[in-house]
């Protein structure tokens, strides 16, 4: 049974308070008018708090009811609103893979998905591979083979490998290379990552198919 949690996020109260504050000091009307003018000139019209969208995200088997700006990325919501900071931010523009999560078991860059787009789809982050305090098989394999240095790309690498092994439990060396080729490692620990993937496949098959 999956537990369902109630709304954990509401920025609207803060936004309203801020507006109320502006109005109360008599600058509100001016501010709103000026902001409107700028907004009209600008191509990116910021959503006002009233325009926040309701969404429900299914993350690591838990449902989160959220109010989000339509432009917020899944990455931003995971890290800064839900505190799921295992998912890292490397570029915020779909280049490095540090923010890789599984959406419907497929590795995806969380910076390239709007939170509202992700509604309803099962999302797995690095936190979701843990069994309470216990590491999952891919994490354990990365630990054993020192498949990282600074560790910042590591959550994304692990999610890419998890996605690979869920669809292909016995990948070839070429398939392993391809599967993590969307995840940059500036420390250059790729050679250890390849070894860790083989080890992870073993650990997973020993567990009977893994998670």
């Amino acid at each position: 049974m999956k537990e369902e949690s109630k709304p954990t996020l509401c920025n609207c109260a803060q936004g309203v308070t801020r507006r109320g504050f502006l109005a109360s000091v008599g600058a509100g009307a001016v501010a709103v008018a000026a902001a409107g003018k700028i907004a009209a000139e600008s191509s990116t019209v910021p959503a006002s708090p009233e325009e926040m969208a309701r969404t429900a995200l299914l993350i690591n088997g838990r449902k989160y009811h959220l109010l989000v700006e339509p432009r917020w990325s899944l990455l931003f919501v995971l890290r800064e609103k839900l505190g799921l900071t295992a998912t890292k931010v490397g570029c915020d523009r779909g280049e490095c893979g540090a923010c890789t999560v599984l959406v419907n078991d497929m590795p995806q860059y969380a910076c390239m998905i709007l939170a509202v787009e992700a509604e309803g789809a099962p999302i797995t982050t690095l936190e979701g591979l843990m069994n309470a305090e216990e590491l999952g098989p891919v994490q354990q394999a990365f630990l054993e083979h020192d498949a990282f240095q600074c560790g910042y790309c590591t959550p994304g690498q692990i999610m890419a490998v998890e996605g690979l092994l869920r669809r292909n439990p016995d990948p070839s060396p070429e398939e392993i290379k391809r599967s993590v080729s969307g995840n940059l490692c500036r420390c250059g620990a790729y050679a250890h990552i390849f070894k860790a993937v083989r080890r992870a496949a073993e650990l997973k098959s020993a567990k009977g198919g893994g998670q």
Binding site: E80, A86, R93
Partner: protein, 778 residues
Amino acid sequence: MKERDESLYYVRDIPVPETPDPGTEPKPWNKTEIVGKPMPRVDAYERVSGSAVYPSDTLLPGMLYGVILRCPHPNAVVRNVDTSGAERMPGVYAVISGSNAGSELKWPYAPGIRPKFFDAHCHFEGEVVAAVAAETPYRAWDAGRAIKVKYDVLPFVSDPRDALRPDSPAVHQKGNLAGDVQKYERGDVNKGFAAADVVLESEYRTSVEIHTPMELHGCVARWDGDLLTIWESTQGVYAVQSRVAEVLGLPLAKVRVIGHYLGGGFGSKLQTGKYSVIAALMAKKTGRPVKLFLSREETFLVTGNRPPSYMKLKAGVKSDGTLTALEFQCLGAGGAYPSGGVQLVDWQVRDLYTCPNVRTEGTDAYINAGLARPFRAPGHPQGSWALEQMMDSLAEAIKMDPVDLRLKNIPNYSQARPGNPPYTTTGLRECLEAGAKAFGWKEARNRKSKPEKTEKIHLRRGIGMAGCLWVAGSGQPPSTIILKLFSDGSANLNMGASDIGTGTKTIMAMVVAEELGLKPDKIQIENADTGATQYATPSGGSKTVPTEGPAVRAAAIDVKQQLLKLAAEELKIGSADLTIQDGEIISAGDQSKKIKITGISGLKKRGVIVGVGYRGPNPKGKAVNPFGAQFCEVEVNTKTGEIEILRFVAAHDSGRVMNRLTYDNQVIGGITMGIGFAMTEARVLDRSETGKLCNKNWHDYKLPTALDVPAEIVSIPIELDDSEANSIGAKGHGEPVTIPTAAAIANAVYDATGIRVTDTLINPVQLSRLLSESKERK
């Protein structure tokens, strides 16, 4: 006049206190139980589980998000900044620029160069103009875009070759020469060239490489009254503390910098960025914590680079392989302020091979571009690119095996340092010999001379190699370590240094475990926090292990001596013949006399023993440097110019191997980064039209991916007994491993194709052009 020690670049412009000389140094370990074994990291769980809180993961109640508005031009004067639109936006809490908060502040770009923090004259693209703090980063960017700035756009120069022309726009009033031309000379190169049988001369060029560590540069700043706390992604918390305190005029004790983890630095996080001061200013103004991490694009512009090197090398050799003379010139460009544009580029030429006659010259030009910062072995991969290709050419000219030519010229003392100090160890010969053997160098060269008929004619294989030394890597004072042994036999190690991903913490735990007979998992390490740990210099120069390691060992020995004294009292014997084995203290003379550490009543009463260790000085009159040699095989498709790297063998002498697992990881990482330097990475500035950076993202600036590295990278540690270097016998490792990679690839490509690629990048674009040019010549 005292010569500046260039090898200490990682403490440039920051105050470095002294620590007491510990006096007697412990004897080297005869054999080790834990040190040297492959051990997974003590913080691996945190890093793979996601529980490690990197500075960019910091979340604080009420936290705002900061962004910086930067000058989009390489040379411009800010005429007017209109922040009114930004200030009126809902959710915006602070907007700062030269006209308010930071207007009185200065920023020390270099000694004696302290322009205004928000200087109206922006000398490079990306200079700070204004900053915003808002409820979300989205809103902060909205506000940043709403700030209207009027610039007077000025002429620029973005290439050092242009910068030194008399008609070039001047980056600064005194012209574009950044400091004096750096000169070095020994012997007489003219006599040397006259004595040579072969003299060759060639130009070489390397592109600008940008660090781009995975974690963005930035911090979270929070004020508690007059105490400023900064969580920063940095290689040196004390470096950030001193710079922020200096700029804001705060007492050091009121600036606490914490950096338990960081997602890579490679030298770009040795120094402090303006962003930390901006975050502090906006946190002060709003009374709320401010998180300010740069965008990826900004990190390409303003957080450092390996500067461009335009090199010329002339070399003389006798037909028996004796080097007679080396003459080297380099033109570089650190950027718009002094930042070491030619720093250490000549060191390989000066000191790697025996040569009596050497002259080098380095000219650093100002250009309108972001400043260089030390980048993994500053200067060395560039110099290696020139020298090691030249060695290859010399070997061919005198019909000698390139390995043999290098073996012929191995120095046992540092020729470039005053007084010619001998090296404590130089494993260069062993690196060359063991590396060549493991690679099968001779066999591969023989195969090459008799090519197999079955080979596809357009796929040509080649082999290449290069040697190296690294100017630093000795470690040196200061370092102070505090070690607490608790009555239950667990220990807490307090160390100021950052673990930048090299495995420093794990190695320190292994040193403590070795000395005290504890299990490494009983040791908890607190590090990189100016409020709670001891002073340390930034983690750079491959000196962290040889700096902190001996101090950790000294602290463990201090604890051990106190512990043995307590045990001796309990056992009623002298402490001199007591040893620690597996958590027990045993009398060497009478094995029946023993007591468990946890059973010592004196320890139980005290609860904790505190040991202090200091880093002692390095041996006088000696040079301590790591050496190495790398070998590779490539396959070049002569139809397309594509290059596949088939395999690498790396033999490195970094003294004692502390942890075989992380040792090998450094080797594969260094080679991977070297592949990027040789083949994929190059900053492109628009030299003629705008002077702007054209490729400020990872789509256009390409890092090596999993598909670009060879499946086979073999690490051959050359462990020589270097008990003179320091009490743990280890030398630096993280930087030498990337020095010879690019040159080895170039030499292999030459072996495969007969084409000498003297300019990076060796990629299909350049190589296919060179291949067709060579066909036309034939």
